[in-house]
């Protein structure tokens, strides 16, 4: 490792950087990513304040959750990617066991069995949001890239098992996101487009099979999307009200806390899944574009980190985390604007609620870890 001696001469740590930059570096924090996250969260709190009806107690609640999530990010950022990689199979196995335990002993809430209570209540499916892409990246990291078909099949099993377990809770939204995060790893690993095309065609009968396995309410959501006016006070109500909210916002919006759809409670789930409609109503096209640009900056920074990563595991994981975040943003905004069926996906970093926030920020912690531990990697 003599070379690293030479390298050390050029490390930025030795260079006369600003104090702030060096503090960030010592804390393994990526400045631009942190900046993007803080901007989105700040903007999110601003919208949330209006969406919860200017309720300071609820807002403080969210601030505390954000704080916990940022601490989680900070902790994860300290763990070197090698460490993460080594512990990935163990973590994944524990995750699977917990998912089985959830189905067996989990607490039922709102018709779904998602929670485990070991003194602390938590959702194992949340952990698997990171566990699945990590496992896929771990499996592919020391193999020939692009992977062979047999290897892909093995990865597919690693993805499908937790996906099915979560879908059985039932939690369709989370299971689809987890499947997506795994699939993204496979795509980034470089499987051929012909193979992807074949899978896509094979997915059509698969989708038909899936349709048969879907719960009635899930089918209803799909049908509702196709024609929301068929049941304007039932299943279509959310989409209709959300479109009215966004559409009536116009270019510049009705003004902060002045959205009649949101404030007069026409808009359901306005502080959680449909908070994007509150933004659209009160801040108009200008507001939603601002938020989307901030999101794109975060995603872009994540992809940059992925490209800069030094090993396969880090690359695939960083790429998957960034693109899964993109999927979150797309699914939520497309759902609220009536482009895709209503699946329970919150608007990341903005929607009220803390469960997914910690996972999300832990994911950004991994990105930061990958970026800031580059120079210390053995490669």
């Amino acid at each position: 490792m003599r070379l690293s001696e030479t390298q050390r001469m050029f490390t930025p740590r030795a260079a006369p950087l600003s104090d702030f930059g060096s503090i960030l570096r010592r804390l393994h924090i990526d400045g631009p990513l942190l900046g993007g996250l803080l901007l989105v969260c700040g903007f999110g709190l601003f919208i949330l304040y209006s969406a919860v009806g200017e309720n300071n107690r609820l807002l403080m609640n969210q601030v505390i959750r954000l704080g916990i999530a940022f601490i989680a990010m900070l902790i994860v950022a300290q763990l070197p990617p090698d460490f993460l990689r080594r512990w990935t199979p163990v973590g994944y196995a524990i995750g699977l066991v917990l998912l089985v335990l959830v189905l067996a002993y989990g607490e039922v809430s709102q018709g779904a069995r998602r929670w485990l209570d070991f003194g602390v209540r938590f959702q194992p499916s949340e952990a698997m949001k990171l566990g699945v892409p990590m496992m896929a990246a771990w499996f592919l990291h020391d193999r020939q890239i692009p992977p062979r078909i047999g290897e892909i099949a093995l990865v597919a099993v690693m993805i499908v098992v937790p996906t099915v377990l979560i879908a059985k809770q039932p939690d369709l939204g989370t299971s689809l996101l987890i499947a997506a995060s795994g699939v993204i790893v496979i795509i980034l690993a470089g499987i051929s487009f012909r193979f992807m095309l074949g899978l896509g065609i094979a997915a059509i009968p698969g989708a038909l099979v899936l349709w048969n396995f879907m719960q009635d309410y899930q089918k209803q959501r799909v049908l509702t999307l196709l024609n929301p006016d068929s049941d304007p006070l039932g299943a279509g109500y959310n989409i209709i009200q959300s479109k009215i909210a966004i559409g009536s916002g116009g270019l510049f919006g009705k003004g902060w806390t002045n959205g009649s759809q949101a404030q007069l409670e026409f808009l359901p789930e306005r502080d959680t899944d449909f908070i994007f409609a509150v933004l659209g109503e009160e801040f108009g096209l200008l507001g939603v574009l601002t938020l989307l640009v901030l999101y794109m900056f975060i995603i872009g920074r994540g992809l940059y980190i992925a490209v800069q990563a030094r090993d396969t595991f880090s690359r695939l994981l960083a790429g998957s985390i960034s693109l899964t975040f993109m999927v979150y943003v797309f699914v939520n905004t497309a759902m609220v604007t009536g482009l895709v069926p209503v699946v329970g996906v919150p608007l990341p970093l903005v929607s009220f609620g803390g469960t997914s926030m910690v996972t999300l920020m832990a994911g950004f912690g991994i990105l930061m870890s990958i970026h800031s531990h580059r120079k210390l990697l053995p490669h």
Binding site: I145, I244, S248, S260, L264, L285, L303, M326
Partner: protein, 632 residues
């Protein structure tokens, strides 16, 4: 270097490939987010106006404002029905934690009744949870005071001011004016939902019901900012109130002026006090109803205010049936009151003449039949002509000529006097009564034997018994037709309808009905003369009643056997005996030459038309003609 560590991997090509995949993913991401942005542009720019309109419609709700119900006046502009502010006790379901406990505690301090609790609970569950449920429509001052002290113990329960229909004279006009009651589900199906939005009560009987469309008015509306559950949002929460459309004020209901004379109504009511019966007084010159009484009556305010289940049961199960409007709905055998009409029919059809005499021995027999049709006077009236037969009310005379008149002629003439069909009075709720005929019998009996008309049945009808039924209103109208020598007007209660805003009055024109045409004026002269002698002749049945009157009057008594008593009604013996006594009836009019009032009345189980019913008719006529005790 890496190649040395992991020889199978081509790090450089892997990196290139990864980079291309990331670029591809970035492009796909931008396309997907571009799709969302395109959608946002479509919603927020292209279709913005459409959605802006929809959002406006979402938050503005039209709240109906009920109109003020029109007032009802008597012929001297005295208020019979008005609207008074009253405090009602309300409960807002969403503000009450334990509704059972709250209702039980309210019942224990006597603000509501225990047996009303299930009904109130149903009500509180049926509507939106923020909508108040009325527990009690009208609180007394004592109740308001006692509740005010205990209010902290009852969160979600409070009293609210409201306009409540009020009938100052209560029972006095209950059957003439009718009452309003809370809207029922049936009412809601029948009425125009737009006009009744916000209205809680509607007319249920008599004038209140038949002039509902005039009295009610039209609902106005005001615009309100509401949330998704329809709750009004205080307007100061935001600037949302800008650009709201103007409100529409409600159109108050029209005031209705009755031809009813409250003084006359009071005298008639007092005369019938303690009795079951009915009285109708008309102006024969135009058909205006001057008094309409059914006894016993009830307090219509109970319906307007809302009564407890036990109060309602007390009214509806009372054996004296106070809710039953005997004046228009009670169908009684008219007894001898129809004799003047049959006399005219007989004269017109030459079934008898003015000089024909019959010796009355107290009974009549048909040929080849042992059955004796008895006269009310067992020893008989001796030799009587038509005049005597009316004045003394000789049944045998009419039994004898009944065969010559024939049931079809009887039916024909009684029908011309308006019997057997609804008068079409403007308060509704009428019975048809019944004037039997061959045809009627054929159509209304199933077996052949009963479908035939028997001569004996004609005999019975000639004294207003048998199948014959008439309402007091029909008899009053017939009496009026006798008084005017055949000129008939449709009886009516409402004289004018006044627009509450402009004060413009629409007078109700008397409606002339087809005359009862009698070819010889002398027949009228004779029959009306006989009716005069009933009251003021030397041998008249009611001469004691007509004695000493400062004006000339005419009348005819009637006494009708009680047909049957319903098997399921329970009476003690004394009461049973009382209820099997004959009904007492009387028709009258005065003054004889220029009649201004015609009266018909019945006293159930009053036994004697001339001694029980006639004095009541006299009292009413005296009062109306200005000769009463308290005439001013």
């Amino acid at each position: 270097m890496s190649a040395l560590l992991s020889p199978i991997k081509d790090v450089h090509s892997e990196r290139r490939m990864f980079l291309s995949r990331v670029v591809l993913a970035a492009v796909v991401s931008i396309l997907l987010l571009g799709l969302v942005i395109a959608r946002l542009v479509q919603l927020q720019v292209v279709d913005h106006e459409l959605f802006a309109e929809k959002s406006q419609g979402n938050r503005v709700r039209i709240e109906p404002v009920p109109p003020i119900r029109g007032l009802v006046f008597d012929r001297k502009d005295r208020v019979l029905a008005e609207n008074l502010p009253a405090y009602q006790l309300e409960l807002i379901p969403e503000q009450v934690d334990d509704i059972d406990d709250t209702l039980n505690r309210l019942a224990s301090i006597n603000l509501i009744e225990f047996e009303d609790i299930p009904r109130i609970k149903d009500l509180s569950r049926s509507g939106p949870r923020f909508k108040p449920v009325t527990l009690k429509f009208r609180l007394t001052d004592e109740e308001i005071a006692s509740f005010a002290i205990q209010r902290p113990r009852f969160p979600g329960v409070d009293f609210q001011p409201r306009l409540v229909r009020h009938y100052p004279d209560g029972e006095l006009v209950s059957h003439a004016v009718g009452y309003v009651g809370a809207l029922s589900t049936d009412d809601l199906e029948r009425l125009d939902p737009a006009a009744y939005a916000g209205t809680s009560h509607t007319g249920k009987t008599a004038v209140e019901s038949s002039f509902e469309s005039d009295l009610h008015g039209d609902a106005g509306y005001r615009h309100m900012i509401t949330n998704a559950r329809g709750r009004q949002v205080p307007s100061d929460t935001s600037e949302l109130l800008d650009s709201l459309p103007f409100d529409e004020t409600p159109m108050p209901g029209a005031n209705v002026y009755l031809s009813l004379d409250l003084d006359l109504q009071r005298i008639a009511t007092q005369a019938l006090a303690g009795r079951r019966g009915a009285l109708v007084a008309l102006d024969p010159q135009n058909g205006e109803i001057l008094a309409l009484v059914s006894a016993p009556a009830f307090d219509p305010n109970l319906f307007a205010v809302g009564m407890s289940t036990s109060q309602y049961r007390e009214l509806s199960e009372n054996p004296d049936r106070p809710l039953f409007n005997r004046a228009v709905r009670g169908a009684y055998p008219p007894g001898s009151t129809i004799k003047p009409m049959l006399a005219l029919a007989a004269l017109e059809k030459n079934a008898t003449n003015l000089t024909r005499k019959t010796v009355c021995h107290g009974y009549f027999q048909l040929p080849n039949d042992d059955h004796r049709y008895r006269d009310w006077k067992p020893e008989g009236h001796g030799p009587v002509d038509l005049h005597d037969a009316i004045a003394q009310s000789c049944d045998v005379y009419f039994y004898e000529i009944s065969g010559d008149i024939g049931i079809d002629t009887m039916h024909d003439y009684l029908t011309r006097f308006g019997l057997g069909s609804k008068t079409g009075v403007d308060i509704g709720g009428e019975s048809t009564g019944l004037v039997p005929s061959r045809e009627w019998k054929r159509n209304n009996f199933s077996d052949r034997d009963n479908q035939r008309w028997y001569h004996g049945e004609t005999v019975i009808v000639s004294i207003g018994q048998g199948y014959m039924l008439a309402t007091p209103l029909q008899l009053a109208s017939a009496a009026a037709a006798l008084a005017t020598r055949g000129k008939r007007y449709r009886p009516h209660m409402v004289a004018a309808v006044e627009d509450a805003l402009t004060g413009e009055r629409r007078m109700v024109q008397p409606e002339r009905l087809p005359d009862v045409e009698i070819s010889n004026e002398f027949y009228w002269e004779n029959v009306l003369g006989a009716m005069h002698d009933v009251m003021q002749g030397p041998r008249g049945t009611a001469r004691a009643v007509g004695f000493g009157a400062p004006y000339e009057m005419a009348g005819k008594s009637g006494t009708a056997q009680v047909v049957s008593i319903a098997q399921d009604e329970e009476y003690d013996d004394a009461e049973l005996e009382e209820r099997q006594r004959d009904h007492a009836l009387f028709i009258a009019f005065a003054p004889l030459d220029e009649p201004r009032i015609a009266v018909a009345l019945i006293v159930e189980n009053g036994e004697s038309g001339s001694s029980v019913a006639a004095p009541i008719a006299r009292a009413v006529m005296d009062a109306y003609l200005g000769f009463g005790d308290d005439a001013s």
